[in-house]
Symmetry: C2
Subunit: 699 residues, 2 copies
C-alpha cells in the first residue's frame, strides 16, 4: 500500500513547529538577561537544572538501552506470529529502533525546552522592568519553545516512522520510548520539585519566617530548579507521551478495524488532524502574542479558545479536501466526517473538563472558599475539607469523559473513542506552551526579588505568575482528561492486538476480576509510593537546611551565602532513588498480571487502573490546587490574612497538597500510559504463554 | 420440594443465641451500677442514646414503609416473569413482608444491644473497682448481648423465612431490609460519633486544654453517646447486613447453579454452616469468659482464634453428618466437602486480613512508628505519611482477598466464592461481641473518671479500653474483608438473576465501561459526602461549645454544668440531615445506571464499586487507625510526649483520621451491600426496560 500524500500535512507541520521553536529560542536569547545578581541567580538555576538532566539522562540512557535490547531480542517483530527473535533469529529491529528514536526525541525536546526555559526566566524578569507586555512576551515565547518542540518532535517522529515502515506497530515502539522517558521525567521531576518546595517551606518559611524566594534559604535555588524540572520538563514529556499514545492508538485501531480499501487514509487520519491541530496552535500562539495585554491570564485562555476554533475550521477544511478523493466510497466519506465530529467532541470535552477543575480550585467560588473557611477551625478540618472537595470534584469531569466516550462510540465505535482522544490533544501545542509559561514566570518572580528589581517590577512579575496559575487550572484538567481518553483508546487497541475484541473481557470470570482488582489498586499504590518518596526526601532536605543554619549563623544574617549545591544534590539524588519503586510498579505489575492470569485479565487490569487512576489523578490535582488557592486567598488578607492561625492551617493544607498536585496526581497519567503500552509491546511474549491465557488460565 | 430438616440447626442456634443474649442482659443488669455521680453520667448517655434511636427509628420507619410499598406494588413477585404488580394485580407480598421483617429484626437487635451497652458501661466501671476480671466480664457480657442478638435475629429471620416460603428471593427482601437499616445506622452513627468527637477535641482539648472525658466539656456526653451509636449500634447493624447478605447470595447461587436433586441441601448449606458458626461463637464467648485474665486484649483475640478452630471442627462434623444422607451422589458429597474448604478458606483469610490491618496500625511496628516520626516535621508530613501508608496498606489485604477468591472459585466456581464469604462471616457472633465491647469500656473509662473512682480504677478501665482497641484492629479488617467477599458473591447472584452469567459483563462494551466508571467513582463520592457532613456538623458543634464557654464562664470552672442537651441535639439532627445525600447515592445511582445503560452495565457498576470501595475502605480505616495509635504512642511519652509540637501534629493526624476510620471507611461496606441488593431487588423493573438492556442499549 502507498502511504497517502496527505500525511505530508503532519510532517510539514512538525518541521515548521521545530523551526518556530528554534526561532523563538533565538528571540528569547537575544533579550537582556538583566543585572549581575540576576544572572548569578539564573546561573545557579541553570546549573542545577543541567546537573539534574545530566544525572537523569545518564541513568535513563542505560535503562533505554536495556529495554532496546529486550525489544530487539525478545519481542516478536511480527504481531501476527509470535515467534520470539532469540529463537527465530528474526530480530525486531524496526520496533527497537523506533523505541530508541522515541526516547531520544522526547529527551531532546525536553532538553531544548528546559534549557530555553531557564534562560527565559531572567530575561522575562528584566522584561518586567519595561512593562507587563514585554515580560509576558519573553516568558510566553520561552514556554512556546517547549510546546512547539514537543509537538514538532512527536509529529515528525510518528509521521516519519510510519512513512518508512508503514506499520502502526513500529510506531508503537516510538510511543513506548516516549512513555518510558515520561515516566522518569514526570515522577523524578515531581519528586524533585516537591522535595525542594516542601523543604524550603517547612524550615525557611515556617521555622525562620523567611519570605518566599529569599536567597538566604538554602533550598531556594533547588526550589526554582524544581519548578523547571517538574513543571517544565516533566510536564512536557508527559504530554509528549499522551499525545503520541493517542495518535498511535487510533492508528492501530484503524489498521485493524477498518477493512475497506481506504484503510490507509484512516490510519493517517489522526496524524493529519494532529498536524492541523499543530498549525492551529501556532496561529493561536501568534494571536496570544498579538493580543497580550495587561491581563495576561485572559490572553492565555483566549488563545486556547481561539486555537480550538481555528482547529475546528481548518479541520473541516482538510476533511473536505480529503473527501474530494474519488476513490472513497460514500460510507467512507461519512465515516471521515463522523470521526471529525468525534475529534471536535473530544476537544470540546477537554475544555469542559478544564472548566470543572477551574470551578473546584478558584478562590472566588464555594469549594475553595469553604476550604479556606475550614482553616479557621484548624489544620485537621482544612485537610478534611480539601480531601472531600477533591473527591467530589472527580464526578463532573468523570461525567464529562463518560459523555464524550459514549458519543464518540456512537459516532464510530472504538475508533471514534480513539479519535476523540486525538481531538482532546489536538491543540496540545497551545496547552504545553501555556503550561511551560508557568514555571518560567515563577522563576522570574524569584529572580526579580533576588536581583533587587524593586517593588513595581516584582508586582508585574507577580501578575505574570498568577496568570500562569489561571492558565494552569484549565490545562491541567485538560491533560488528565486527555490522557484518560487516550488510555481508553490504548486499551481498545490492546484488546485488538490480543484478539479479545470478540470474546470480550468478562468481569464475571474470576481471572478478569482479579486483573481488575490489581488494576484498581495500582494507581493508589503508585501514588502512595511517590508521596512517601517526597516525604522521605523532604525530611532529608529539612535536616540539611537546619544543619546549614545551625553550623553557619551568617547564612541567616545574609553575610554569607547558603550552600546551594548540597540541597540541589539531595533533591537530584533523592528523586532518582525514589523513582525505582514506582517504575518497577508500572512496568512489572502489568506483565505479571498478564503472565499469570492471561491477556483478558490484563485488559481488565488496564481498565481498572484507568478508572481508579482517573479518580486519584483528578482528586489529587484538584485538592492540591484548592488548598493552594485557599492559602493564597487568605494571604491576600482574607479571614485575617497572613500570620494568623487560619493562615497557618491553610499552609498545612497547601503543604499536603503540594505532592498531591505536583507529584502523584499528574504522574498517574504517565503510569497509565506506560502500563498500557507495556501491555501492548509485550503482547508477543504474553501470547506465548498458553496462547495468551496465562499460567493460571482456568476460568 | 421439602426443606431439609438440617435447617433446624440454624433455627435452633438462632433461638439459643437470642436466649443467651437475654440471659447475658440480665446478668449485666443485676450488677452494681455504681455511685450517684456515675449513674447520673450514665443516665445522660442512656438518654442521649435513646433520643438518637427515637429520632432515627422514626425517620427510618417512614422510609421503610415507603420502600415496603414500592416492593409490594412495583416489584414483580415472580423473578422469572417480570410482570409489575400494579398492572398484573399480583402483589409482591412475600418479599415486601420479608423486607419489613428484615428491617424490624435489625432495628430490634440494634436497640437491644445498645440499651444493654449503655447500662453495661457504668456497671463495668464499678466492676473495675473490684478488679480487671470483674470489669472485663461485665463489659464483655454487655458486648456479647449485641453480638448474639444480631446473629440470632439474622439466623432466625433467614431460616424462618426460607422454611415458610422456600424461596431465596423472598429472603432477599429480608436482606434488603437489614441493608437499608444498616445504611442509616452506620452512616448516621458514624456522622454522630465524629461530630461529637471532633467537636469535643477541637475546642475542649485543643483550645481549653481540658483532659479527655472532662465533664466540663459540653460535648463530652455527646461524645460518649457517639461511641454507642456509631461503634455499637452502627457496627452491629453493619455486620447484621453483611452476614445476611453473604448467606442470601450463597442461597441464590445454589438455587440457580446447582441443578441436581440435592439442590435444597445446597441452598440451606450456608445456613447450616452459619448455625454451626454461631454455636462456635457461643462456645468461644464462654471460653473468653473462662480465660479472661489480667490481659484482656489477649483473651479477646484468643477467643476469636478458638472460635475459629471450634468452627472448623464442628463444621467438619456436620458436613460428615450431612454426607450420611443416602440420597446424595458421590459428586454431591465431594461438592459439600469442597465448599466446606471454601468456607474454612474464607475464615482463614479473614483472620489474615485482620493481621495485615494490625500490622499497619500497631504502634510497635514501622508504619505507625514512621507516621509518628513524621509528626516531628509538622502537621503536613504526618498527614502525607499516614495517607501514603494507608494507601499502601490496601495491597496486602487486597492480595489476600484475591487469593481467597481465586482458590474458592477453583473449589466450586461462583458458589465457592459465596461460601468463602459465608465462612469469613461464620464467627461473626464473636466478632460483633468483641467489637461491641469496645465502646462499652470506652464509656466505662469516662464514667470512672467522671464518677471520681480514683486512679487505680481508672488505670484498670484504661487497660480494658486499650484491649478493646487491640481486638478492634483485627475485627475491623475482618469486617471489611468479609463484606467485600460478600458483595462479590452478591454480584454473582445479581448476574445470575439478570441472566448475564452466559453473556458476561464485557468491559470492552462502552455501556459496561461507563457502568464500571460510575461504580469506581461511587465510593469516592460517598466518602467525600460523609466526611463533608461530619466536617459541617463538627463546625456547628465547635461554635456551640465556644458559645457555651463564652456565655457562661462558670462551666469552665466547674461551678455549673454544661448544657449537654444542646450538643446532643446538634449531633442527632445533624447526623440525620447529612444522611440524605449518601442514602440517595446508594439507592438511586445503581438504579439510574441500570435504567439507562442496562443490567450488564449495572453489573460492571457493582464490580467497579466493590473494587474501589475496598481500596477506600481499607485505606481510610488503616490510615485512621495508624494516626490514632501514632498519637497514643507519643502520648505514652515517646518523641517528647504530650504537649510538644510533635504531639500537636499527631493530634491533627488523629483528628483527620477520625472520620476516615469511624465514619467513611466502615460505611463503605454498607454502601456496597445496599447497592448490590438494590440492584437485585429492582431487577424486575430493570428487566422491563428493553429486556434489561436499558434506555440506551446501543452496544
Amino acid at each position: 500500500m502507498a502511504v497517502p500524500l496527505i500525511l505530508l500535512v503532519s510532517l510539514i507541520a512538525g518541521v515548521i513547529s521545530i523551526g518556530m521553536a528554534v526561532f523563538f529560542a533565538f528571540l528569547v536569547m537575544k533579550e537582556d538577561p538583566g543585572n549581575e545578581k540576576m544572572q548569578e541567580v539564573s546561573g545557579y538555576i541553570e546549573k542545577g537544572a543541567e546537573t539534574y538532566l545530566k544525572v537523569q539522562y545518564t541513568v535513563l540512557s542505560i535503562f533505554v538501552f536495556i529495554l532496546f535490547l529486550v525489544i530487539l531480542l525478545f519481542l516478536p517483530s511480527d504481531m501476527t506470529n509470535h515467534k520470539v527473535p532469540v529463537v527465530s533469529g528474526d530480530l525486531n529491529w524496526e520496533q527497537a529502533i523506533a523505541y530508541l528514536i522515541g526516547s531520544a526525541a522526547s529527551m531532546i525536546a525536553g532538553w531544548l525546552g528546559m534549557m530555553v526555559g531557564v534562560k527565559a526566566n531572567t530575561r522575562a524578569a528584566q522584561g518586567c522592568t519595561v512593562g507587563t507586555k514585554k515580560g509576558f512576551d519573553i516568558a510566553f515565547f520561552g514556554g512556546a519553545v517547549m510546546g512547539l518542540a514537543v509537538v514538532g518532535a512527536a509529529l515528525i517522529g510518528v509521521s516519519g516512522l510510519y512513512w518508512i515502515f508503514q506499520s502502526p506497530y513500529v510506531v508503537l515502539g516510538f510511543s513506548f520510548g516516549a512513555s518510558t522517558i515520561a515516566l522518569f521525567m514526570k515522577c523524578g521531576g515531581g519528586i524533585y520539585t516537591k522535595t525542594a518546595d516542601v523543604g524550603a517551606d517547612l524550615v525557611g518559611k515556617s521555622e525562620f519566617d523567611l519570605p518566599e524566594d529569599d536567597v538566604r534559604n538554602p533550598a531556594t535555588i533547588a526550589d526554582n530548579v524544581g519548578d523547571n524540572v517538574g513543571d517544565l520538563a516533566g510536564m512536557g514529556s508527559d504530554l509528549f507521551d499522551s499525545y503520541v499514545a493517542s495518535i498511535v492508538a487510533a492508528m492501530i485501531l484503524a489498521n485493524s478495524l477498518i477493512l475497506t480499501a481506504a484503510k490507509e487514509t484512516f490510519i493517517v487520519y489522526p496524524l493529519v488532524l494532529s498536524g492541523i491541530g499543530l498549525i492551529a496552535s501556532l496561529i493561536g500562539i501568534f494571536i496570544i502574542k498579538l493580543i497580550s495585554s495587561d491581563n495576561p491570564g485572559r490572553s492565555l485562555n483566549l488563545g486556547t479558545y481561539l486555537a480550538t476554533l481555528i482547529f475546528a475550521a481548518l479541520g473541516a477544511l482538510i476533511v473536505w479536501l480529503m473527501t474530494l478523493n474519488k476513490s472513497l466510497t460514500e460510507g467512507e466519506i461519512s465515516r471521515l466526517w463522523r470521526n471529525y465530529f468525534a475529534v471536535i467532541l473530544g476537544l470540546a470535552s477537554g475544555i469542559v473538563i478544564g472548566w470543572t477543575s477551574d470551578y473546584f480550585t478558584r478562590d472566588d467560588l464555594p469549594p475553595t472558599r469553604n476550604i479556606a473557611k475550614a482553616a479557621e477551625e484548624g489544620d485537621a478540618l482544612v485537610i478534611l475539607s480539601g480531601f472531600s472537595y477533591g473527591l467530589i470534584s472527580v464526578v463532573p469531569p468523570g461525567v464529562g469523559i463518560i459523555i464524550a466516550m459514549f458519543l464518540a462510540y456512537l459516532l464510530d465505535a472504538q475508533f471514534g473513542v480513539a479519535m476523540a482522544a486525538v481531538g482532546m490533544l489536538a491543540i496540545v501545542g497551545t496547552i504545553v506552551s501555556n503550561d511551560a509559561y508557568g514555571p518560567i514566570v515563577d522563576n522570574s518572580r524569584a529572580i526579580a526579588e533576588q536581583g533587587g528589581l524593586g517593588e513595581e517590577t516584582i508586582r508585574i512579575a507577580d501578575r505574570l505568575d498568577s496568570a500562569g496559575n489561571t492558565a494552569k487550572a484549565i490545562t491541567k484538567g485538560f491533560a488528565i482528561g486527555a490522557a484518560n481518553l487516550a488510555v481508553v483508546a490504548l486499551m481498545f487497541s490492546y484488546a485488538q492486538e490480543a484478539g479479545i475484541i470478540e470474546s470480550g473481557i468478562n468481569l464475571l470470570s474470576v481471572n478478569v476480576l482479579i486483573g481488575a482488582f490489581f488494576g484498581v489498586m495500582a494507581p493508589a499504590l503508585f501514588s502512595a509510593v511517590l508521596i512517601l518518596g517526597v516525604q522521605k526526601n523532604a525530611a532529608k532536605m529539612v535536616d540539611e537546611i537546619r544543619r546549614q543554619f545551625k553550623e553557619n549563623p551568617k547564612i541567616l544574617t545574609g553575610e554569607e551565602p547558603a550552600d546551594f549545591s548540597k540541597t540541589i544534590s539531595i533533591a537530584t539524588k533523592g528523586s532518582l532513588k525514589q523513582l525505582i519503586l514506582p517504575s518497577l510498579i508500572s512496568i512489572l505489575l502489568p506483565l505479571l498480571v498478564g503472565i499469570f492470569f492471561g491477556v483478558a485479565s490484563l485488559g481488565a487490569f488496564l481498565a481498572g487502573s484507568i478508572l481508579s487512576g482517573f479518580v486519584f489523578a483528578i482528586f489529587m490535582s484538584n485538592a492540591g490546587g484548592a488548598w493552594d488557592n485557599a492559602k493564597k486567598w487568605i494571604e491576600d488578607g482574607n479571614l485575617g490574612g497572613k500570620g494568623t492561625h487560619t493562615h497557618k492551617s491553610a499552609i498545612t493544607g497547601d503543604t499536603v497538597g503540594d505532592p498531591f498536585k505536583d507529584t502523584a496526581g499528574p504522574s498517574i497519567n504517565t503510569l497509565l500510559v506506560v502500563m498500557s503500552l507495556t501491555s501492548s509491546i509485550f503482547m508477543g511474549i504474553l501470547m506465548l504463554i498458553n496462547g495468551g491465557a496465562g499460567l493460571i488460565p482456568i476460568l
